[in-house]
């Protein structure tokens, strides 16, 4: 059966997220409870979480989460990894046996720093170096798949219901200031854990619900700039779009969101001249990056959380705030189960991104 990536598998989904602006820690059990409520929005063929702030003791090192399908893949990948990074910790990610999750790959995690010498003669900056290494492993090393490569964060995903995946990875042992979660309803079995969400690159993680009809236009736009869309999923291409706009083009996150969900022309025509020119130029330059079709996306990063809805608001996405915390979910019920009396609840409107910044200075060199 074709593996995800060889064919494009359309799917519906559930998404959820919690963030504490002040950096207060939230236990894994809360996010599991939230995503679990939306059990019927997924069909057990994919679930996953992203957690930020779970490795304080390694916060300046890259945390690689890797699936190995066989020992050979394990050995090749480790050989490559130790060559390009100074790895000081290598261990299996602790998991618990859950009967609904079976015959998964061997799951390891490594903490390490970039090998300065090798990075210098690759003439790439640190981020580009890491991205190229991850892309190399995932594209070239058969059976090995790096599904998380950020600092002080990590993704946990598998084929199964999200609440089972949470239990499998014993997420109740982790505390993070930013959680995102995803439950998947693919039309057919992805046949492979790597296909589950969230999708990660550096410390970006994306969970996405919906089916973007502009997928091939976006894919063929982004592939102009060195990206390889190996998974053929919407999340992958949206992540690369954000990465390209923010990292390569240095656009602020909310401007990047404007590019993906640009306002409509009749709205632009009604704007005052300054704005009109800005948005006309924006849509002219980035017409290939406009994302069309129903979607709701939550983008996690060390800078904060961004939630966006498609321009026509064809996909549900609810937001709420309570003190320093912000909650997001495909359904309001998934928020109220973990936060019964939020200060404010609203439905994210089309093409108006919500950005919740993290006010802790996590990184010096950023």
């Amino acid at each position: 059966m074709l593996k995800e990536g060889q064919i494009r598998i359309p799917s519906g989904c559930a998404i959820a997220a919690i963030i504490d602006r002040k950096g207060g820690l939230i236990n894994g059990s809360e996010i599991i409870k939230s995503i679990a409520l939306m059990h019927d929005r997924s069909n057990g063929l994919g679930g996953g979480f992203a957690a930020y702030g779970i490795y304080p003791e390694h916060k300046d090192e890259y945390a690689f989460h890797i699936f190995y399908e066989n020992a050979q893949a394990h050995q090749n990948c480790e050989e490559f990894l130790f060559k390009h990074f100074n790895i000081d910790v290598a261990e299996r990610i602790p998991t618990k046996t859950v009967d609904s999750i079976s015959n998964g790959p061997d799951i390891w995690r490594y903490f390490g720093r970039v090998n300065r010498v090798r990075m210098k003669n690759s003439r790439l900056d640190e981020s580009e170096y890491v991205v190229q290494c991850v892309t190399k492993v995932n594209a070239a090393f058969e059976g090995a798949y790096i599904f998380s490569s950020g600092k002080n964060m990590g993704c946990f995903k598998a084929v199964g219901y999200p609440e089972d995946v949470g239990e499998f990875y014993m997420l109740d042992r982790y505390d993070a200031y930013l959680w995102t979660a995803h439950g998947r309803f693919p039309t057919n079995t992805p046949g492979w854990w790597g296909g589950a969400h969230p999708f990660n690159i550096l410390d970006w993680s994306i969970v996405h619900n919906g089916e973007i009809s502009s997928y091939d236009t976006n894919r063929r736009y982004i592939e102009q700039f060195g990206y390889k869309c190996t998974m053929q999923t919407d999340t992958e291409v949206i992540t690369y779009l954000f990465d390209h706009l923010i990292r390569h083009h240095g656009l602020p996150v909310n401007v990047a969101a404007d590019v993906l969900t640009a306002p409509e022309w009749d709205e632009i025509d009604r704007m005052e001249p300054g704005h009109k020119e800005y948005f006309t130029n924006l849509r002219a330059i980035y017409s290939g990056a406009l994302v069309n079709g129903p979607f709701s996306v939550i983008l996690g990063s060390n800078k904060g959380l961004l939630a966006i809805n498609d321009r026509l608001k064809l996909r549900s996405l609810t937001a709420a705030t309570k003190g320093s915390r912000a909650y997001f979910a495909s359904e309001e019920s998934a928020i109220r189960i973990i936060c019964p009396d939020p200060d404010k609840v609203w439905s994210v409107s089309g093409a108006e991104p919500v950005f919740v910044p993290l006010e802790i200075d996590e990184r010096e060199d950023d």
């Binding site: 602020p252 704005h275 130029n281 002219a284 017409s287 290939g288 406009l290 069309n292 079709g293």
Partner: protein, 501 residues
């Protein structure tokens, strides 16, 4: 004793019951196929000169006329078809190059008809064009690599000049001289109302079109006809015509009889002299010369408008398109081998050039491979017969489409392919005043507006069905296309999967 080796091609059939001998057909046929009997009471017809332009058929008040192919069988011969035999006879008589008009009629594969469109079912919803705004606004011109932003809503990018079209359809180049001023005026008026552009062609600009210069694409061709600073500056954008799909590699020849005083003024050439546009631009012998001309034009127009380069779809098209882009062309127009023409040698029109579908697909992919596709605009030309062709072209990667034959048909053309004779009964491909007045711009421009408005609606309907509400998301969206009856190689060049996958 002259032997008539070539049988007539058509027969005009007159239903005597219906014919009221009003003589309308007699006065309307410029090929003089109809005439009155001596007593002036009955109308007779002689079909030798009939080119099946249907002027008499359409104007006959009692619908008494119809045209029939004149069947005069030769012995069956798949190789030596009657057409080849007759063309040999014609050349045996004239010793000259056979000329003809419009695009090649030869049955080469039409890829548009072998590509199917996607639609949303279950996994992603269609978008209801009655509720959501469907956007087909298209912006042509060179784009910078990225947007530089001071803060949200304030960009500091140095934006090159852009051209905004309210539809991805523009009217392709048809010069004043090959078509009548009235035909051009109709296209100009239609372009103004539709919010799109019409291409003036290589015949210079007639003063009557002054009010439409903000809707005009002006061409700089190898003959440089009518090119001066006013001409360049009073336009929406300037297009350097390197080639034309119907006759790649060769120049153009407007016979002296068609060079009336007005045509000669517009082209700045002596009246009655043949207007020859030479095969190459005699100042462009390599790509760097093209860059020089592009910059010269940009300087002449104060960098206020994009410069387009129009090339015929030939082998190695992808490399040429990429080269033009790198030579500074903001817009590259590719004209497929089925594109129409006022006059072109039959052999070249029917054998030289490649289909626009393949040229467009490979060029779009090559530009993407080099990461510069998003910086320039790609315009496809060469026979779009309906809105589905346009959607497929945009999905293959075109920004916009040049249409010429379709609007002409809307204005009365019946594809008789004898434009080169200058006796067009519909007042389109002629300069004869008694024929050009048959094309009343006030009436005809509305028909063209109706046609394009209809196509726009259809494009929006198809996009809605695909779950797309902006043409930006259709452009280059090859996933929306599926091929049927295409070889692996063809699918690969078109970059689309086979139906069923």
């Amino acid at each position: 004793m002259s032997v008539n080796y070539i049988p007539r091609r058509f027969t005009v059939i007159r239903d005597r019951e219906l014919c009221i001998n009003c003589g309308c057909c007699v006065r309307q046929c410029s090929n003089e196929c109809h005439y009155f009997s001596d007593d002036g009471k009955t109308v007779l017809s002689q079909s030798d000169a009939c080119v099946a332009c249907h002027r008499c058929v359409d104007l006959c008040p009692t619908r008494a006329l119809r045209i029939e192919k004149y069947v005069c069988d030769y012995r069956e011969n798949a190789n030596w078809t009657p057409q080849y035999q007759q063309e040999i006879c014609r050349q045996a008589e004239t010793g000259g190059v056979l000329l003809s008009g419009m695009g090649t009629p030869k049955p080469y594969p039409v890829y548009w008809d072998k590509i199917l469109l996607n639609a949303s079912q279950v996994t992603n919803p269609s978008i209801d064009p009655l509720r959501e705004p469907m956007e087909i606004r298209t912006i042509l011109g060179r784009k910078p690599e990225k947007l530089t932003v001071e803060k949200k809503g304030k960009s500091t990018v140095e934006m090159p000049p852009q051209v905004i079209l309210e539809t991805p359809i523009m009217f392709s180049a048809m010069s004043f001289g090959s078509i009548s001023l009235n035909a051009q005026k109709s296209l100009a008026m239609a372009a103004k109302e539709l919010g799109t552009l019409f291409n003036v062609g290589e015949g210079g600009l007639h003063p009557d079109l002054k009010p439409f210069t903000d809707r005009a694409v002006v061409q700089v061709a190898s003959g440089r006809f009518g090119v001066h600073s006013d001409y360049l500056n009073n336009s929406k954008y300037v297009e350097i015509k390197i080639g034309q799909g119907a006759k790649p590699g060769i120049g153009g020849h407007l016979p002296g009889e068609k060079v009336s005083v007005e045509v000669s003024n517009a082209r700045m050439i002596p009246e009655g002299s043949d207007a020859i546009s030479p095969a190459p631009h005699h100042d462009i012998y390599s790509i760097e010369d093209l860059r020089q001309l592009i910059w010269a034009i940009k300087q002449a127009t104060g960098n206020k408008k994009p410069v387009s380069v129009k090339i015929a779809a030939v082998h190695n098209i992808a490399a040429i398109v990429s080269g033009c882009a790198r030579a500074g062309a903001d817009i590259v127009a590719i004209d497929g081998f089925r594109g129409g023409t006022g006059a072109a040698p039959v052999r070249i029109r029917d054998n030289v050039g490649i289909p626009i579908e393949l040229a467009l697909a490979s060029s779009d992919q090559r530009l993407r491979d080099e990461g510069i596709r998003s910086q320039i605009s790609l315009v496809a030309a060469g026979s779009f017969r309906c809105s589905a062709d346009i959607v497929k072209a945009i999905a293959l990667g075109a920004d916009a489409c040049y249409c010429a034959s379709a609007p002409l048909i809307a204005m009365g053309c019946h594809m008789c392919q004898t434009c080169n004779t200058g006796k067009c009964n519909w007042g389109i491909a002629t300069q004869r005043p008694e024929l050009t007045k048959r094309l009343n711009p006030e009436i005809m421009y509305k028909r063209v507006v109706n046609l394009i408005t209809a196509w726009n609606h259809e494009i929006k309907e198809i996009m809605g069905g695909m779950g797309i509400n902006s043409i930006d998301s259709l452009r280059g969206n090859r996933l929306m296309l599926r091929g049927i009856g295409l070889s692996e190689k063809e699918l690969e060049i078109l970059g689309i999967r086979h139906a069923g996958e």
